[in-house]
């Protein structure tokens, strides 16, 4: 069953959060920094990047509902003030880098921009026939 697909460790989670238009969880500065950081992981190229997909807003919304996550994210923001810090954290396999990367992946690839526009997924629709592997 698809439930099992959802359980396996390899799968990303579709975060159950709403898009908060007027969230007060982050300061303007924290919000802007979050947008810069997620774009470092998945930048705008010929397709939308993470902030184009509003990943920073989704993160803030999750933080507004999950105190522990909010605490961890604000700690991350302090530890990753700039690109140099991000690169060092990546090289050191630091937990704050893992949190940044994994959270960005979870959110970005569950948005229309990440899943449909970037990756080209076009499933969960009505098909008269399933043709399988064809060129």
């Amino acid at each position: 069953m698809k439930r099992r697909e959802a359980l396996i460790a390899i799968s990303a989670v579709v975060p159950a959060v709403s898009i908060a238009a007027e969230s007060k969880t982050f300061t303007d500065r924290e919000r802007a920094q979050t947008a810069r950081l997620v774009d470092l992981i998945i930048p705008h190229t010929e397709t939308p990047g993470a902030s184009d997909a509003k990943v920073h807003i989704l993160i803030e919304d999750r933080a507004s509902k999950d105190t522990k996550f909010a605490e961890n994210w604000k700690s991350l923001l302090k530890k990753l003030p700039d690109t140099e810090a991000v690169e060092k954290a990546y090289q050191a396999k630091a937990t704050e880098f893992t949190l940044l990367k994994d959270t960005t992946i979870d959110f970005y690839y569950s948005t229309r921009e990440g899943l449909a526009t970037e990756l080209g997924w076009h499933g969960n629709t009505y098909l008269p026939e399933f043709r399988g592997c064809e060129e």
Binding site: M1, K2, R3, R4, E5, A6, L7, I8, A9, I10, S11, A12, V13, V14, P15, A16, V17, S18, I19, L40, I41, I42, P43, T45, L58, V86, Y90, K101, D102, I105, D106, Y109, S110, T111, R112, L115, E118, L119, G120, W121, H122, G123, N124, T125, Y126, L127, P128, E129, F130, R131, G132, C133, E134
Partner: protein
């Protein structure tokens, strides 16, 4: 609970069925078809297909949740009905209380047991033998497949019988073809999967439209679920009544030790009720049926109804499984297909370890392949190195190329793997909850090594890029949702509670027809066999009723 609060039904029902999933639905359907009146007790209510979120995209899910909308809540919250498990060896128990039970969202893998399975204990001597063989169940497999519709192959082998009643197999995805070819190159056969999905219209039901969202419930009922396929037709006979939100606590007995009714609590009002019946069929799924049986204590049955053998609750056997993933080089960077198909895999790897050299462990394993292809939720991206534009390209390149292998291995029945209720806290109705004690043995650990060898060798043969894994890791025990064995069938009443017709040796008017009745777990998904056993058991029951023996 004090007597003034108990609501008693005056009617004495012909048969009371506890549970509405695969086994309960089959029991009710088959008995009503044969002119017998049935009262079904369902711990929940009907899930409305019109409310399923079958075609809600991931981003739309978020938007709907933000608006306060909710999809059907299939899975039982353990806060509502807790159970105890050892933190060192946690057992994951997944339950669906409501019409159709887990068949609303099940994996639909429909494999026939073979005599390799039924004869396993008799052959290797580990625990009691099954009281039936393939020939006993084959006619029922035929009938079940014709009734519910199972797609698949006619490729018959000793570990996985084929069927002339299978509906057409779906076309294979690219990754599935690659794994099938790679496995063949090293002598491992991968066959068409057998799945209870309608690849063509069947018995008046519409064919699948390949949206791949079966785990959210099918909005057109194009895969078997007990509610639409069995219970609704049973209603049409005019012989079925269902009480919703009836959380069964105990089977009641008379002075002679025969069952004469059931005690339940209303899930909404919490009121206690008692209904009376001439026969009781337990079909509440393995763990819940076992809990009810063990809690059904009386002067005649001090350790639970029908438990003179002291085997009810023991011999819990589930399966061990893990997940290995890789990318097919020839698919990297190629066109993204709609890989939804019938949801889950279109192929299956049947057991083969009974051939060739003798293993240093008993029993066997098979494998499934779901998540192969381009699917939402590419959490595997977290395993790729780097970040930035190159990382983004790397994810996109691999998106069409994912291949997944999920081996499932049998767990031997062990007396110490058990469900108990003695000394456990009470639930909200004042009924002791289940404690599940479960761990694997060296036998499974040895088997797991070969399961890893198998998965790795197929990916190596495919020259695939394997996602790093930790050898020996297994998924949480219980996560296969294939619980068996805690009320097993057997010829010897001193070692088993049930006879070959799922009837209690000790209490002739109680039958147990869910997965708890299996003598062994096999490596296979059990639902098709549960349906066949429940059909066979209720044929026997109906015959005994007509002969005046029950």
């Amino acid at each position: 609970m004090q007597a003034p609060n108990i609501r008693k039904s005056a009617e004495v029902h012909e048969v009371i069925v506890v549970g509405s999933g695969a086994s309960g639905g089959m029991a009710a359907w088959n008995l009503t078809k044969q002119g017998i009146n049935v009262l079904m007790l369902d711990a929940g209510t009907k899930f409305r297909r019109s409310q399923f979120w079958s075609h809600v995209k991931p981003w739309e899910t978020r938007e709907r949740l933000a608006k306060g909308q909710r999809p059907p809540q299939f899975y039982l919250d353990i806060k509502e009905q807790p159970y105890l498990t050892d933190p060192q060896n946690p057992f994951e128990l997944i339950r669906v209380w409501g019409r159709g039970g887990k068949t609303n969202v099940w994996g639909r893998v429909s494999l026939r047991y073979s005599d390799l399975d039924f004869e396993g204990p008799a052959r290797d001597g580990w625990e009691i033998p099954w009281p039936i063989r393939y020939k006993d169940l084959a006619p029922y497999y035929d009938k079940v497949e014709q009734e519910i519709g199972v797609c698949g192959g006619d490729d018959d082998q000793d570990s996985l019988p084929g069927s002339k009643y299978h509906l057409p197999a779906p076309a294979l995805r690219c990754g599935e073809k690659i794994m099938q070819s790679a496995a063949a190159s090293i002598g491992i056969k991968i066959v068409n999967g057998r799945r209870a999905v309608l690849t063509e219209a069947h018995n008046g039901r519409p064919k699948c439209h390949f949206c791949g969202a079966c785990g959210k419930g099918c909005d057109i009922s194009a895969f078997f679920n007990s509610s639409d396929y069995l219970i609704e037709p049973a209603f049409k006979t005019g012989r079925l009544n269902v009480i919703d939100n009836a959380v069964v606590a105990r089977i009641l007995v008379d002075d002679k030790g025969l069952a004469n009714g059931v005690q339940y609590f209303d899930r909404q009002t919490k009121e206690e009720h008692r209904v009376h019946g001439k026969r009781v069929i337990m079909a509440a799924s393995c763990i819940d049926s076992t809990r009810i049986l063990l809690n059904s204590k009386s002067s005649q049955y001090p350790n639970g109804i029908g438990n003179s053998s002291d085997t009810i609750g023991r011999y819990l056997c589930e399966q061990v499984r893990f997940h290995m993933h890789a990318f097919a080089p020839e698919l990297m960077g190629t066109k993204v297909h709609n890989d939804d198909g019938i949801g889950g895999e279109h192929i299956y790897l049947p057991r083969y370890n009974h051939r060739g050299k003798k293993r240093d462990y008993l029993r066997g394993f098979g494998a499934q392949f779901w998540n192969t292809g381009a699917h939402p939720g590419p959490g595997w991206a977290k395993t790729l190195p780097g970040y930035g534009a190159d990382f983004k390209k790397s994810v996109k390149k691999r998106f069409p190329a994912l291949m997944s292998i999920h081996p499932y291995g049998e767990v031997l029945p062990q007396a110490y793997n058990r469900v108990t209720v003695d000394g456990t806290p009470n639930d909200q109705y004042g009924v002791p909850i289940a404690r599940i004690s479960y761990r694997i043995s060296d036998n499974e650990r040895k088997m797991i090594q070969e399961m890893y060898d198998m998965a790795e060798s197929i990916f190596h043969a495919a020259k695939a890029e394997i996602i790093p894994f930790k050898r020996g890791w297994i998924d949480t025990l219980g996560s296969a949702i294939h619980e068996h064995g805690t009320c097993r069938m057997g010829e010897d009443s001193k070692r088993s509670p049930l006879n070959q017709y799922n009837q209690m040796h000790d209490v002739k008017n109680v039958f147990v027809v869910d997965g708890s009745s299996f003598t062994t777990a096999s490596e296979k998904n059990p639902t098709l066999t549960i349906l066949a056993l429940a059909w066979r058991a209720t044929d026997y029951m109906a015959g005994e009723i007509k002969r005046g023996n029950l």
